[in-house]
């Protein structure tokens, strides 16, 4: 399908449309987006046929920008998104990372600390200039300079997931109860670090800050610890984006029904959720919430284009504000199936 003819008649550019939705203003139709980071769409079919390939684009700003442009162009997602992994923050803070291959995403090899108390003080200034954060920021500048009408989303890994990539996760989760003050101190330092990263990303040209915090799920923490440890520190990062006049989207993994009343406390403009959450129901529970999601990535990998198109139709009918994958896409997901999703949204007009 020719996307130019689809977009030609619409009154909004993709950037205007996404920003309007996040401001709860009227639009012609929902945007279809993919927030990057843990939920990036740099599938093998794209990265394998692009001069800017993976894993190289994880540490080269030019390649990162070029691949982000190729992903948007080929998938039909109406945004540019960097980076293509969720390891940038933890690696900067000291975790050893395997940057993977074309087909395998980067992953944390081992957490350097066995206890929260072992994590040294973070020197924000020097850290932000180290590791791959400057690469991401430079890629954002390149994307901004490319002058497209796509919104640029920079995807950050949230405080709990970053902390659980630094400290051995079972120890970390136990110490949330057993060493509360240590945990608060660490999360506070991490959220300040992430906040500064967010600020710099917006100054480099990001239009939206996305925060993926898969470990900050009610499934793992339960509502009490979610409220005590996830909400305030995710909100810190959201507020850092807001201080730069950029909206924020928070992605939450898992079936977090028990925590959903707490989501608005994070103050993000939109909440992106996993496939098992019924977004229509969520909207009646939290009126006014801007929802993003939640097409099953399992269906995207193993389902047919037809089924994906039908499922996408249903999400639109349910009033989901931003149509997006529900979780991280498999790198072996096929382009025609993703196109079935994006074309279904992009061929929509209000009231059709």
């Amino acid at each position: 399908m020719n996307t130019d003819s689809l977009d030609g008649a619409t009154p909004f550019t993709p950037k205007e449309r996404l920003l309007r939705v996040l401001r709860r203003e009227e639009t012609d139709r929902p945007p279809v987006a993919c927030m990057g980071g843990m939920m990036n769409a740099a599938i093998v079919e794209i990265a394998g046929n692009c001069p800017a390939t993976l894993p190289g684009a994880h540490w080269d700003a030019d390649q990162m920008a070029e691949l982000a442009l190729a992903v948007a162009k080929q998938t039909g997602f109406e945004n540019l998104a960097v980076p293509f992994c969720m390891t940038v923050e933890a690696e900067t803070l000291g975790s050893s990372v395997d940057l993977g291959t074309l087909a395998c995403e980067p992953k944390i090899v081992s957490e350097p600390y066995q206890s929260i108390a072992e994590v040294p003080d973070l020197d924000r200034e020097s850290l932000l200039g180290a590791g791959r954060i400057p690469v991401v920021l430079k890629a954002v500048e390149r994307l901004a300079a490319a002058g497209t009408d796509m919104p640029i989303i920079v995807s950050l890994t949230g405080p709990i997931s970053t902390a659980a990539s630094l400290v051995n996760p079972p120890a970390f989760f136990k110490e949330l109860r057993k060493k509360r003050e240590d945990a608060h101190r660490l999360l506070s330092r991490i959220s300040l670090f992430l906040g500064e990263y967010a600020r710099r990303a917006v100054r480099a040209g990001a239009d939206v800050i996305a925060i993926g915090d898969p470990s900050a799920t009610g499934d793992i923490l339960g509502p009490a610890l979610f409220e005590e440890f996830a909400v305030p520190y995710v909100r810190e990062v959201v507020r850092a984006a807001h201080a730069q006049n950029a909206p924020a989207i928070v992605h939450i993994c898992g079936d977090t029904d028990s925590c959903r009343a707490l989501w608005p406390l994070m103050e993000s403009e939109a909440v992106s959720v996993d496939a098992m959450i019924n977004l229509a129901k969520l909207k009646s529970f939290l009126p006014g919430i801007v929802t993003m999601g939640n097409l099953s990535t399992y269906m995207l990998e193993f389902g047919t284009a037809d089924r994906v198109a039908r499922r996408t139709e249903k999400l639109i009918r349910d009033g989901v504000d931003i149509i997006a994958p529900a979780c991280g896409l498999s790198t072996s997901t096929k382009l025609p199936v993703i196109r079935a999703m994006t074309d279904t949204v992009r061929s929509r007009r209000r009231g059709t």
Binding site: K107, P169, P170, K174, D219, L221, G222, C327, G328, S330
Partner: protein, 227 residues
Amino acid sequence: MSEENKVLFRGLSDAVVNLEEEKAAELAREVVEKNIDAYEAVDKGLAHGMDRAGRLFEEDEYFVPELLIAADAMYAGLDILRPHIKVDSSSEPGKIVVGVVEGDTHDIGKNLVKIILEAKGFTVFDLGRDVPPETFVQKAQEVGADIIGLSTLMTTTMPGMAKVVEILRASGLRERIKVMVGGAPISAAFARKIGADGYSANAIEAGELASRLLAEIRAAGAQAAAG
């Protein structure tokens, strides 16, 4: 059971469910000093407490941090009691190999499964995370495992589970070794599709499933021996 033993076992159980590691160790030492049957203290005390903690987990009263701390209390007692358990050859524990499939490094769920299986008396061989399919089969063969337990949190790595079943089939081990799968994106339908023997939605169910699969294996073995 004497009244004194009963109180002590209840104390051990309470220490686990109330997340009191030191209390569990203290009571376990008391069991040893008083020459009370260590196996019974584990069964009616520590494992009983872990079972209660597991039920609270299923009821959304406890979550991962609580279950992990309860396990610490159980292990604190177990470390003290284990050397005093009289080996009973008539009831050989089931052997199970567990791990997170290749490509995934999320192992919280697998760790919980391991805890529950150990509380149920299984001998658990933990391969850790990011484990290639072949390694599961090699390890299972090497230790003579009854069951292989596969976990993943990522849709991307689910095909690795099917691969394990295929390798077992290709090496003629499929009849002898049961396969159970679990993890957030996994469903009973997926388990059936790849030919696994069972699916569990959480660690507590995984413990029950493993016990059921072991009972099937033992029953089939007894039948074969009788036939």
